[in-house]
């Protein structure tokens, strides 16, 4: 009961904090919506409004060339009152989605899969935070709050991923695939999480009473994911009418990266600078690079599929075509599950300082570039590099800690020993 009370307190405080923020600073949501760090072309609430406007007037939402999000969001938001005249219902809807995400995080944490799974058992099992603390870290993370207030549609992808994971660790593999299908339908890239997720489901099933055949299990779930996505695409087709138009405006937009609006990622500057003839080649290279981590990490951390998902989310936050701080906030949400790895990490302070520096200097340099006119694009790009560096150092550090943890598990007599590279 006491735990429940804490959960209610944390959720209530998070809700009230968000409510206070929008009541005290009514212009804050619109300000954040306009920030490139928070809103990308594929998640911007402003663009969603544009699509919604066209949709409610029976014009194809993709006609203007501005809207690039999944069509199923449109009927959902058409139900909510107009965000311009009455912003509160939409805001509260987003708050609730955040709380739902936190709830999913609590169930992921409660399952204990991060410290003890079928094939793996961490050395420092006892060093961990409980679910409510993990949820509190997620809910009070400034990046999460900014994403929520900016009403970025990324939060739905986040929910899809978190629910997929929470269902997978709970042994509910069908729901996990449905949720992953929803996330992939919204943003495409979560489909890359399929392999670790299905392994997570498989490991979980093997712990149960009736162990399934591995091949058929994977094929079944792959089919289920495809069916989910196909079903959602069918529904979207009913809404928009023109199948190819929406495919090219949404997934084509994700894949071919035509909009080079600045964001915190590494793609935009690179593709602005590139000669057009090499564009297709490098698009292939960049996507291949992003996808290639899946195989390597899954193979190396076969015993810890949840850790693979966490580190992949970190990689996506760095190397996605349209990343924003919401991707980083998802990565930061899953990190506290690995509290037991923290003592093994070495550069947290440096990574943290780099992330802090870039989150202060980023807006400053963007201001100098766009508003004051006294800087230029290189200022902002340099800071996105620092941001990515901070995230990469953190990610590499976690992966190092996980490897060290596995090593200590294999060599129990050497736990806590000092190691030195030869």
């Amino acid at each position: 009961m006491a735990i429940d009370r804490r959960k209610i307190a944390v959720f209530g405080a998070a809700f009230v904090l968000r409510l206070l923020l929008i009541c005290i600073f009514p212009s804050l949501p619109d300000l954040l919506t306009g920030r490139v760090e928070v809103s990308t072309p594929v998640s911007s609430f402003k663009r969603l409004q544009e699509g919604l406007f066209l949709y409610t007037r029976n014009v194809s939402p993709y006609d203007g060339g501005v809207f690039h999000q999944a069509p199923l969001l449109l009927p959902l938001f058409a139900l909510l009152p107009d965000a311009k005249s009455s912003p509160l219902p939409t805001a509260i809807f987003y708050f609730l989605v955040d709380l739902l995400n936190a709830h999913a995080l609590i169930s992921i944490s409660a399952s204990g899969q991060s410290v003890q799974s079928r094939l793996h058992s961490a050395v420092r099992k006892h060093v961990r935070w409980d679910g409510v603390s993990v949820a509190a870290l997620f809910l009070f993370n400034p990046f999460t709050i900014a994403t929520c207030l900016a009403r970025s549609t990324n939060v739905f992808t986040t929910s899809g991923i978190l629910f997929a994971v929470s269902n997978a660790v709970g042994g509910n593999s069908i729901n996990a695939m449905l949720a992953l299908g929803f996330a992939s339908y919204l943003s495409l890239y979560p489909a890359l999480l399929f392999i670790p997720l299905v392994l997570l489901c498989y490991d979980r099933r093997l712990q149960g009473p009736a162990p399934p055949n591995s091949t058929s299990f994977i094929v079944q779930h792959g089919g289920l994911l495809l069916a989910t996505v196909a079903g959602l695409l069918g529904l979207s087709c009913l809404i928009t009418g023109n199948f190819w138009e929406f495919i090219s405006a949404t997934y084509g937009f994700h894949l071919l990266v035509p909009d080079l609006t600045p964001n915190v990622g590494l793609w935009w500057y690179f593709f602005i600078e590139m000669f057009d003839s090499f564009r297709e080649f490098f698009l292939g290279v960049f996507w291949l690079h992003l996808a290639s981590y899946v195989g390597g990490l899954t193979a190396h951390f076969r015993s810890q599929p949840l850790f693979v998902i966490t580190s992949l989310l970190g990689i996506f936050a760095i190397f996605k075509p349209y990343p924003s701080i919401s991707d980083a906030s998802l990565f930061f949400a899953l990190l506290p599950l690995y509290r037991h790895l923290f003592p093994l990490m070495r550069y947290t302070f440096f990574a943290g300082a780099a992330i802090l520096y870039s989150s202060l200097l980023g807006p400053a340099f963007y201001h100098l570039w766009i508003y004051a006119g006294s800087g230029n694009a290189n200022f902002f790009y340099a800071i996105t590099l620092v941001w990515s560096l901070g995230l990469s150092v953190l990610l590499a550090d976690v992966i190092f800690a996980a490897i060290r943890d596995e090593w200590e598990q294999e060599n129990p007599e050497r736990v806590g020993l000092k190691v030195r590279q030869v």
């Binding site: 070495r346 302070f349 440096f350 202060l360 006119g373 020993l417 000092k418 190691v419 030195r420 590279q421």
Partner: protein, 618 residues
């Protein structure tokens, strides 16, 4: 090899590595930062100015504003003088509003007669219980060769930045309006703006021009295109002048493009033969001392970030603007000033795009000598870097270096070398990584910084009469609060567990990290402010617990406390006010006005700093 063994020695001596070395390095950073700044005025480090935008062609055209225009000038001046004297002579009978209305009507009729489109705008600002109100009059010449997409602004405030009546300036603007209207060569619209004062009038107008005005300011009925540049004319003298004084500092330390300043200097000095001065340096002999003095004056203005004239309000909208002030007693008349402005307008008229070629970040030390950001930024960054360095050192110290001197000092040598692959060798010593207790330090530092919002809110919302008292209250609170906090933290007082040394280091580490963070961000936006705050905060890096016998400890720590209190923001404010001989109330009224009207940000920074102090005093 020698280096390698030196590094090995370092690793074997944790005290040196974690305590001595960072202190030394930070001190070095500060010293190098300051020396760097002092080197800047030397010929080797500063550069001569040059016109970067070729389209400007300063002084390449003949200025025709002469002869008969002087008669028009005199005529207009008589008319305006008459109206003003009329109001003064009758004293009590006619109130100010009536005079203002009559003058405003006169301005409008003159501008209309010259063939310009005229409009007015009323505004009102309230700050610290004082109301500033007035009415702007402005007129537009539509460009015969343009499409009304770009415009230049000429501003003539009735009151100069030093609160003197700018009758000649306003008259000159009227004469120029009539004169410019007859030229067919303008490719940009020219806007003539007459404001009642130098502080709020231009701000109201420029806000309304971009539709960013508050409700108490009227919208503009008449607009033109994007503003490319603005010139403010100030001629408050009743006699002929000697030199032009060019003022260029904007709000929050923003500066206009260096090309605009250079053009003005080139035209005034080269074409017209009037000398140009800056930063009130009249007898500049190009010596090191004078250069340094000019630079410091510029840095002070930039650091304080207040508006130095009517032009300052234009800067936040990315409109380059300068004020031309007439100074001294000489033989240059209003016609020379008029020709200078004509030539400047012709140069601006030539622009093909917004001024962007030259520098936006610079320090001027002579009218023809400057240093650019690449040369001066390292000094502020070094000072900001010293805090980050200390923060990192303290962090590492909490992790590796045991606070109480252990029996075997080699225990401190315990950092994990990077094993990039799994080929690792193992030493038979255990890792002594201390788990850090982060919750208390993190929340304390965050809480203290949030507390900084209280003085900000208070100073911007109370009436100006109470400013002095409030400042003293904050001084007292600033002295007492850290002591109470320190007592609570170190003895518990039944409220919490006593603090352990590690947490003390972490508190300091986080405060210094945040300080370094904000200073380096600030350095890119407002170099001078960052530099000044950095220097004031420099002792924070070296504040530490003294470990010696009780009386010595008491003496040193109380000495340190006194020093820190002397350097804390409210005391510095009082000290500077006492030194300069201005009242605290006046300064704070200005600051509140700045916050309300100009969006001045430096105050926030200063208050933030206050709380860094508190965090570090523990």
């Amino acid at each position: 090899m020698a280096l390698k063994s030196a590094i090995r020695n370092l690793r074997n001596n944790p005290y040196l590595l974690f305590v001595r070395l960072p202190n030394l390095l930070s001190l070095l950073c500060i010293v190098v930062g300051v020396v760097w700044l002092l080197l800047l005025p030397l010929n080797e480090y500063s550069r001569r100015t040059y016109i970067s935008e070729n389209a400007l062609l300063p002084g390449q055209v003949h200025a025709y504003f002469t002869g008969s225009e002087q008669n028009i000038f005199r005529g207009y001046k008589k008319e305006l003088e008459g109206l003003l004297n009329d109001g003064q002579a009758r004293g009590g009978q006619k109130d100010e509003a009536e005079v203002t209305a009559a003058v405003s009507d006169k301005l409008q009729s003159i501008l209309q007669a010259a063939g310009l489109k005229v409009a007015t705008q009323k505004y009102e600002y309230t700050s610290a219980g004082i109301t500033h109100q007035g009415e702007n009059t402005y007129a537009i010449i539509h460009a015969p060769r343009g499409d009304a997409t770009e415009a230049i602004v000429l501003v003539a405030p009735w009151m100069t930045a030093d609160d003197k009546l700018n009758l000649n300036g306003v008259t000159l603007a009227l004469t120029l309006a009539r004169y410019f209207k007859r030229w067919s060569l303008w490719s940009k619209d020219i806007i003539f703006l007459i404001t009642p004062d130098s502080k709020s009038g231009t701000q109201a107008w420029i806000d309304a021009y971009h539709d960013m005005h508050p409700a108490s300011v009227q919208s503009l009925p008449l607009k033109s295109g994007a503003l490319q540049g603005a010139l403010v004319i100030e001629y408050p003298l009743e006699h002929r002048f000697q030199t032009l004084h060019i003022v260029y500092d904007g709000v929050n330390g923003q500066l206009p493009n260096l090309d605009l300043f250079n053009t003005a200097v080139a035209i005034a000095g080269g074409q017209m033969g009037i000398g140009a001065n800056l930063q009130e340096m009249w007898g500049h002999d190009d010596s090191y001392k004078h250069r340094l003095q000019t630079m410091f004056r510029g840095m002070t203005k930039q650091g304080l970030g207040y508006a130095t004239g009517a032009h300052s309000s234009f800067m936040p909208y990315h409109i380059d603007a300068i004020t031309l002030q007439t100074k001294g007693e000489g033989w240059e008349d209003e016609m020379a000033l008029g020709r200078t402005i004509e030539s400047l307008c012709r140069s601006l008229n030539n622009l093909l795009e917004h001024l962007h070629q030259s520098f936006f970040f610079y320090l001027l030390m002579q009218s023809n000598r400057f240093v650019s950001i690449g040369t001066y930024l390292p000094s502020a960054m070094l000072i900001a870097g010293n805090f980050t360095l200390m923060a990192i050192a303290l962090w590492m110290r909490t992790g590796y270096y045991p606070e109480t001197k252990p029996a075997e000092p080699k225990d401190g040598k315990t950092d994990v070398a990077e094993p990039k692959d799994m080929k690792v060798s193992v030493e038979a010593k255990t890792i002594n990584i201390a788990e850090r207790q982060l919750a208390l330090p993190l929340s304390l530092v965050a809480g203290l910084h949030l507390l900084g919002l209280v003085p900000l809110w208070v100073f911007n919302n109370i009436f100006h009469q109470y400013f002095t008292t409030t400042t003293y209250i904050f001084v007292v609170v600033g002295i007492i609060l850290p002591l109470i906090l320190a007592a609570i933290l170190s003895h518990g007082l039944g409220l919490s567990k006593p603090i352990v040394p590690q947490q003390y280091h972490l508190i300091k580490s986080f405060s210094l990290l945040l300080l370094g963070l904000s200073l380096s961000t600030l350095a890119t936006l407002n170099f001078s402010l960052s530099f000044m705050i950095g220097l004031l905060c420099a002792p924070l890096s070296f504040v530490t617990r003294v470990q010696s016998s009780a009386p010595v400890r008491l003496a040193t720590s109380s000495l340190g406390l006194v020093l820190l209190n002397l350097l804390s923001p409210p005391t510095v404010l009082l000290g500077v006010c006492g030194y300069m001989g201005v009242s605290v109330e006046e300064v704070l009224t200005q600051a509140a006005f700045g916050w309300d009207v100009w969006g001045l940000e430096s105050g926030v920074v200063a208050l933030d700093m206050a709380h860094n102090y508190k965090g570090c005093k523990e």
